[in-house]
Symmetry: D3
Subunit: 238 residues, 6 copies
């Protein structure tokens, strides 16, 4: 039995609130239980230098946490003057995940900048960020279509993400902070709406894992992402 | 007539939501119209080096804005690797304002760290931050009293802040972003619950102002802060 | 009685030495008592990006202190790799003050960069800087007129600044370091030659102040700035 | 047929040269084909702050590339003043991989610092680094045993790493730079000597992948790591 | 004939003004012609970590230039966030020069921090800095003797510095900026009061030089430093 | 007798290995005894801003050390976020030395970037770097000639460097780390193939030196550089 009574294959209560921001072209307030993230999508009519005059667009992401999003306060990255390795890892991951489902040539020479800011953290901030960021990005792209800046959505598929872990030999879906801290293996899966894999990150600092344990986590992830994809469809009315 | 129908001496709709955060010792979600700020207060049982072994405590503040809190996205300070002069000015101001109503010796050798993070900006982010930060700090101090770490609240008075401006010769209370951009003079006032002045900042980049115009703004501010102090009392039930 | 025998409304001995620098287009060595500042004005025939092709010019300022300008040595900002919040606050203040009396469109697309470097500090470095910077800027602009690069001086008014404080209930003009350290309230006033207000900054970290105390400081400041404006006229022969 | 005539499941020519450095406690010069990395292990008799007085040791890693290790010169990170996100990701990965096979309590309160510096890059720098870093770390730990600072090697298992990819639907082992640039999926696997998984990172920026394709890569990786583990044994004479 | 009518072996007009600063333990305002430098010496009763508990003291130096000390304004190092290589080279040179004439063990576990700040530059800022820094350091040490913190001056010898160059085949002493810019060879010599060499730096970016040309510069330097040593004696009354 | 049996005027075993790198336009692996440096030369078809449209080219250099190149590990500059003063001094020196033998106008508007990375350090890293960098640069320039991008080598002369020292009154050539640490005087000489001087740096932190001692070092350096120039000729087959 999990400490919050969930079944091993049960997601936390998930909320996706598109259109949260007054200013951004696309936005989503996402909750995976007590993990709360604000995702915004900003459209810029220019691309990074390496794409200039290529006809291709770009999707990039930045990630941050409020200093007291966590149980103990962590130093503000802006005050320290640099982003941690963890922050950079996560924002690179978010960017890759979103680019995997976009036709960058159809997007044209413009850039979508995704900002994922964690207001409150309780495990799974990167998977919540990716799942919400897709919604924000979809909104921003739909707005470009509505304004006739794009003929059609340059979207190939949906994308969502979820974490899994192995704790005392059992596979668990969507770990919260306490579970994550005690798990032997921690994995993040990113998949498309059609169930293809986009990214796998599985790490064992404590106890190495077998192929079978990995396969178990992969199946849990597949069912969780299936639910998230459906919820994205529902809130985006697609 | 103001663009949002307010009277010259009328505040925007103000909301103070204490206890917003799952983790922080004190917190407040504050709204001044469309300006939304998360304020948290963190208690640390140690002081900065210059206060060690003095028996005195400290209150300090940090301020930040989500990149897309504003109409156009601004670069993330953590990614640029430094805080702007504006950010530093504001966080120093918040810290001074709070320290002005605290008996630092009665606080003892501990530090309260205030974080004010602007989720959405529409003018007046520093005055909303100060007004909400007081609530978060009060909560954190009350918790120390409840835990018997302090015998009594080391609070001398309440403190709140509001902006004023002069536009086309008329004094206006609590400017939103559009009003602020068009004002000839921009001023911020910080006052205590008993109506004493803690800080005045008045700036004219466009048209210098007279003593009389200043006095008008001071009176507007006094009435606005009176309301904010009452609202703080109400939500803190003091 | 003040520790240096001055009357409450008496400035320290003030010296303004225009043309101090061999290289700069405008310069002024300014002394407010033992506070000594070198102000230079550099003319650059280009503007910051946000003003390109607008026809408008810009005035900006940088501020620094020699490490041993103060009683105890402070770390060199260049060695630490960043400017303190205080430095940034002051240099933004100097820039705003000077821009308030310049017709930036008449200046054309060029920039005046002001450098204020404190050689020795004894209170009031920011007010001395502003008062001297005006002289340096005037010189630089006059040189542009002499070279026929400008038809007329794009100057709307003079500008000068002075500090005031409240100590043991009494208002004092032009605080030196000892007075400043002991004052309950510290205020800086910037005014034009015609006596209009450009900026007010009044801060009480120790004891909040009343409207009446503020008005007293404002009157002291007015008389002090009147003297400084006259001295600027004299050294600039205008 | 691969461009260098290798079979899909064939490693490049691998060289592990322990004891390469005159100064370091442990070292290994590793070559995976034209990818050449210098790995050193430094023993420090103190631990990071979070482990002080816990009785536990630590393994950490840093990674770098000479500016002209690559086909086109990349800017020197020391000159730019910061490490890229990629560098941080890789050095965190190396550290985790090594810690997964060490009994940190048996190591005692000391730290092994691993430096992996890429002299020449041709794909697979992170997997070569991990494979060589194990050898360097083993040497450094053996020296502690030889000096009687440790009673026994605090090593639970060996660890090595290899990359795989999917190109035109086919799984390939140990990609060089050209293959890596053209692959649809890029994956890195880290396993122990006993064949357990320590870390999986699989990424598809171009074409998402199926479970079956993933399983194919996992099998390739297993055979490659088997060979690397054997080679480590041989050069370490264990 | 030199452009300012000096003979090849003639110094510019040199001024050494000890006791320039109100605050510093030792200070000297030094002029080599139009090159003006403020040198201060600060005594700190602690040493850098590598000297703790060794019984030995330390002398270190920092160097800076006001942004408009030069003909064209150079960016402020504090604003850019780092010191140039040139700055670091010069401040390391100043520190070494001063340490060469001090008995660091006799100084005891304290540090003298020298600050050399160039107010106006016209060639030879490093040699003026060293020559003036000696005077400031001497003052600070004398004050320690006067306060009985030291039994005797821990000074082994005096030290001073001068530049030489080769222009159109002719050796020149104490180059100003115009001469320096046009010289084929640029050299700096640091010598003790007794005429021993402490440091030689000779550089030919344009035309390499012969042993004979070098010897000529060395002789010029010797005569110039002889004069500077005498002037130091005179102003210090030793 | 020197600790490694060398005669006072004897170089360590010197190795110059051109063409070491698979990627770089020019490269050389250089050994001065146990000091090992990788030198690469990269050709860029653009120049720094100050040379644009002048028709002139540029040679610049960067220098680094692997963290464990030394007996004790030194912090990685990329991780600390800045290069030490020593690093900057050395890389400026290498650049000047190479520029002194190149006709920059004949090079045309292109830049050669030299990277010198110390793999293992045992004294004399800067002199080994310069001697090897010349070989790498020569290779890169020869390749430009071979590709017809240049009509002829824009090389005026060869250049090489060696260190000398004075220990117990005796002059020594090519100090290793132990000798360097114990020497009273440390000097570096850079000379051309025709025996002219390009740079002299002589420093006495411990005991100042006489003209005669300096002349002795100069003669030792001359003989050592003569050998290095011959070896460069041999490996470059010129």
């Amino acid at each position: 039995m999990r400490h919050d009574k969930r079944k091993p294959n049960e997601l936390r209560s998930v909320f996706l609130g598109p259109g949260f921001s007054k200013h951004a072209e696309g936005s989503c307030f996402v909750k995976f239980g007590d993990t709360h993230v604000i995702c915004t999508a900003t459209v810029e009519e220019k691309v990074p230098p390496f794409l200039r005059n290529t006809g291709s667009g770009w999707i990039t992401a930045e990630y941050g946490m409020l200093p007291r999003a966590t149980h103990d306060r962590v130093d503000r990255e802006a005050a320290k003057g640099k982003q941690t390795g963890r922050t950079q890892e996560i924002q690179r991951l978010i960017g890759r995940a979103l680019r995997s489902v976009i036709d960058l040539r159809a997007l044209g020479e413009r850039q979508i900048k995704i900002d994922c800011d964690v207001i409150q953290a309780d495990g799974g901030t990167r998977t919540a960020s990716i799942t919400g960021a897709y919604v924000a990005m979809h909104q921003a792209l739909q707005r470009l279509v509505d304004k006739k800046a794009l003929k059609a959505l340059p979207i190939i598929d949906q994308v969502a993400a979820i974490s899994c872990g192995i704790s005392k030999g059992e596979g668990l879906l969507d770990l919260d902070y306490i579970e994550d801290s005690n798990a032997d293996v921690d994995a993040n899966f990113i998949m498309t709406g059609s169930g293809q894999l986009v990214e796998i990150q599985a790490t064992a600092e404590k106890i190495p894992f077998s192929d079978k344990e990995f396969t178990n986590m992969l199946q849990l992830a597949r069912s969780g992402i299936h639910e998230l994809i459906a919820l994205q469809k529902q809130v985006l009315k697609i």
